[in-house]
Symmetry: D2
Subunit: 154 residues, 4 copies
C-alpha cells in the first residue's frame, strides 16, 4: 500500500492514533491536528512533552504535502526543527500546518501549535518528493531498513 | 516537584512510558533510550514514525543534561532539529545522546538513533538552563500555560 | 562599548559593510536588509552564495531584537536554520525579519529573503538575552575567546 | 559551466575569496576551511560575525559533497542549521566538515568550527543531489531566478 493508492484521510496512522490526536487535512497544502491533553502526554515535570507537539507537526506536514503529490509519488521527511515558546499543563492543542514552498523534489512546510490564541511552538521542515521505483522494489524484498526515500509521508 | 528534588532515573516520564521506550541515563552528559518497535509506532506507510525517534532524542537530551544541573536549576528544550536517513519497519531502536557543549545558560546536545549498526537519524538540540524563581511562582498560581522557561527537562 | 550604550543604527557592522548590504531597523522587532548582487557574492556555479542570505538574516535578527533589550542587556545568536528555495544570479535581494516570540531569556525570529515577489529562502533563529556581568568581566580581561553569552547581537 | 566539468579545487569561489577563507577539499566527503580573522569579519560588538562561520560551513559542505557526485550531477543546499558556543575576537578559525550520510538524492553533513582546540560552533546541513536536465535548460533561457535544484554546490 502506498499513499498514492488511497486518499490520505482514509488511511490509518497508527502512531497518531496511539498519541491521541486527530487530523483534519483541509485544502491541499494545509492541515490541522487536534489533541486534548491527557495524563500520558506529560513529561516528568507535569507539562506537555515537546515530542507530542512534534508528532502533530510531522504528521501534519505529511498530511499537507500528500494531496500535492502526483500519481506514483511519495514523500519522506528530510528534517524538521521545532522551537518551543510556552509550556502547557492542560487543555487542548491545535497544530496548523501550511506548505510554504513546493519544489519538484523538495517541499518546505511550517507548523504552529496553539492553545487557544497562545503560540506554544513552531516547526519548519523539508520533505523529499520522489517516485519510489527502486525503493519499492527494495521494500518488496522485505528488509528491516530501507533508504530514507522510502519512508513516505508520516 | 522539580527535577532537582529527586534523581532523574527515579522520576516517571508518562509520555516515554506511553510511547514505550526505556531510558538509561548513563554518565552525566550521556543517555541511551531503547525501543522495541510495535505496531502502534508505525506511520501510514507501515514504517517507524519519525516522531518516535524524536521522542527518544528529546527525552534523551533532557536525561543527559539533568545530572549537570546545579541545585534549584531546571532545563527546558529551546529547539531540536532532527534529520532522517533510513526507514525502519521492525526491530529495535537505540538512541544515544551526548552533551557536546555546556554553557552556563544554554546546553547543546546531539542524539543518534540506530538499528544495530545502521544510523537511522540524527538530532541536535539546545536547552535553556535557569533557576525558576518567577516561573515557579507562576506555576504555583496554576495557569494552563507557562513561559517556556518553566517547561523543564523532558 | 555595548549595544545598550548607543542606538543600533548608529553602530557600525564591519561584516555587513564588507558583504555589502544595508540595514533598515524599522519598528522594534522588525528589520529589513537590502543587497544589490555583485560578482563577489556568487558561488562557483555563478549563483548567489547561500551564506550571503544567511548574513542578511543573522544581522537582521540582531537588529530586530536589539530595540527590545532592557538597559544593560545583550543578545547573542544561539542558532539559526536557513532553508533555500530558489537560486538568484542577479538583481536585488531584500531580507525581512520579524520577532515572533520574545521570552525573558530567549527570543525567536523569522527572516524571509525575496527577489521582488519571489521567496528565495527562509530562516528561523533563537537568541539568548542576558545581562553580561561575568561575561563583560571576562572580556575586559582580554581573552581571545569568550562564552557564547558574550557574543552579543550580530 | 557546471561542477561536473572541472575539479572543485580548480574552480573559483568568489564569495569565499571575498570573505577571505581558503578551502582544502581533502578526501571525498571531507573538507577544511581556514580563516585568519581580520577587522572586516567582526560584528558591532567587536567579535567574529556568526555568518563568517556559516560561510565556511556552507562552502565546506559543498566541497565535501562535490567529489561524491556522479558525472552530470549537481548538488544544492536544502538547509543548514548552525549553533554557536563561543565568541572569538582574534586569531585563526578552522572549519572541518564531514559527510555523515550519503543517500541517492540527499546528503547530510556536519561542520565544526574551531579556534585551536576550542569548539566555536557546529552546523548540520542537507544537500539535494540531482541531474539538472530541466534546470539547466531553464538556466540557459536566462532567468534571474531558478529553482533551488539549480543552485548547485556552494
Amino acid at each position: 500500500m502506498t499513499h498514492s493508492s488511497s486518499r490520505y484521510n482514509e488511511t490509518r496512522n497508527p502512531f497518531a492514533d496511539h498519541v491521541g490526536f486527530s487530523m483534519e487535512p483541509g485544502a491541499p497544502g494545509e492541515s490541522t491536528a487536534r489533541l486534548p491533553i491527557q495524563p500520558q502526554h506529560l513529561n516528568p515535570n507535569g507539562v506537555l512533552h515537546g515530542a507530542v507537539l512534534y508528532a502533530m507537526a510531522d504528521t501534519g506536514m505529511g498530511a499537507a504535502v500528500f494531496p500535492t503529490l502526483a500519481p506514483g509519488e511519495l514523500c519522506a521527511t528530510i528534517e524538521i526543527k521545532m522551537t518551543y515558546f510556552k509550556a502547557l499543563v492542560q487543555g487542548d492543542v491545535v497544530c496548523r500546518t501550511v506548505l510554504v514552498n513546493r519544489g519538484k523534489r523538495v517541499a518546505y512546510l511550517e507548523s504552529s501549535a496553539f492553545a487557544g490564541e497562545v503560540l506554544l511552538a513552531k516547526a519548519t521542515g523539508t520533505y523529499a518528493i520522489f517516485t519510489p521505483s527502486q525503493a519499492a522494489a527494495a521494500r518488496a524484498a522485505g528488509p528491516a531498513t530501507a533508504s530514507a526515500e522510502s519512508r513516505a509521508c508520516p
